[in-house]
């Protein structure tokens, strides 16, 4: 079933249709929330908050427009709210001992190191920049949709994606060039 019909049924109180929407967007919502919060458990809590908020606000959703950007705006706001409320930062800390060389036992370990470095590099970016690059390069949203999600001009989104990519690509290139 297409999303406008699913959303319309969910708006009418059909919990099965709502469940279908949750299934479709669960992973995306959790990744976007994690881009803000870093900690996977916090991200899941924020994503859940966002789905419950979306359920309450479904009557405000315009079925003529795509569902994804509308939901991702709620997810980004829920994650930002949770980040503001969080008093103790529990961001996943990278084992610094693995950075910058040392013996790499196999490809899996190398990949784990790269992912750790990527998470650390992402965490160093300003929040809006993190969200912009994740929404663009991971989730495949267009610049205009991201502008709608983040409530910023499209030109700013392009700039944020550019700066984030430059930062992250340097890291990836360094990793690829390693012997």
């Amino acid at each position: 079933m297409d999303e406008p019909r699913l959303a319309a049924r969910a708006q009418a109180g059909d919990r099965t249709a709502f469940g279908e929407l949750v299934e479709r967007y669960a992973d995306q919502a959790r990744r976007v929330a994690r881009a803000v919060l870093q900690d996977p458990d916090d991200a899941d809590d924020a994503a859940q908050d966002a789905f419950l908020a979306a359920l309450v606000k479904l009557k405000q959703y315009d079925a003529a427009r795509p569902f994804g950007p509308w939901l991702m705006r709620i997810v980004a706001n829920a994650a930002t709210d949770r980040r503001r409320r969080r008093t103790v930062r529990r961001a996943e800390m990278l084992d610094e001992g693995h950075i910058g060389g040392g013996p790499q036992p196999d490809a899996i370990a190398e990949r784990a190191v790269l992912l750790g470095r990527l998470r650390k590099a992402l965490a160093e970016l300003p929040e809006r920049r993190r969200l912009a690059v994740v929404l663009f390069d991971v989730e495949g949203y267009a610049h205009a949709e991201i502008a709608e999600i983040l409530g910023m001009p499209e030109g700013t989104v392009r700039s944020e994606v550019f700066h984030a990519r430059r930062h992250l690509r340097t890291l990836l290139a360094d990793w690829r060039d390693q012997p």
């Binding site: 919990r15 709502f18 469940g19 949750v22 299934e23 669960a26 992973d27 959790r30 990744r31 994690r34 881009a35 996977p40 991200a43 899941d44 994503a47 859940q48 789905f51 419950l52 359920l55 990949r111 790269l114 992912l115 990527l118 998470r119 992402l122 690059v133 994740v134 663009f136 390069d137 991971v138 495949g140 267009a142 610049h143 392009r158 550019f162 990519r165 430059r166 992250l168 690509r169 990836l172 290139a173």
Partner: protein, 109 residues
């Protein structure tokens, strides 16, 4: 990561995207969906219901206070009362600070 990409390329970068996707990979998806649906189907707790009413209650209380204030103001004829700086000096008597006395010496507008 495509070497031919320009900084403002409007196409997603598949290599960077895949690496980020792995870096942000969530855990068990089915468990998360189940958790959300359980929370969505849970009946609202009494405190949640009260919280839902609280906005309405606050709005009603503000309206009541507003109308009560208007009614009291009309009954006392507060709009007729006028206090000049001379009245203040007279009421304060001999203990009026110099600043008020000085103020009273300026003509009223």
């Amino acid at each position: 990561m495509k070497d031919s990409m320009t900084p403002f390329d409007s196409r997603p970068d598949p290599v960077l995207g895949a690496a980020l996707r792995d870096a942000l990979a969530p855990g068990d998806s089915a468990a998360f969906v189940a958790r959300v649906l359980v929370a969505a189907n849970r009946p609202a707790a009494p405190l949640d219901v009260l919280a839902g009413w609280s906005r309405l209650g606050i709005a009603a209380a503000v309206l009541v206070a507003l109308f009560a204030g208007m009614a009291v103001g009309r009954d006392t004829g507060a709009e007729d009362a006028e206090t000049t700086s001379q009245d203040v000096v007279i009421m304060a008597g001999a203990e009026a600070p110099a600043a008020i006395t000085l103020l009273a010496s300026f003509p009223e507008r």
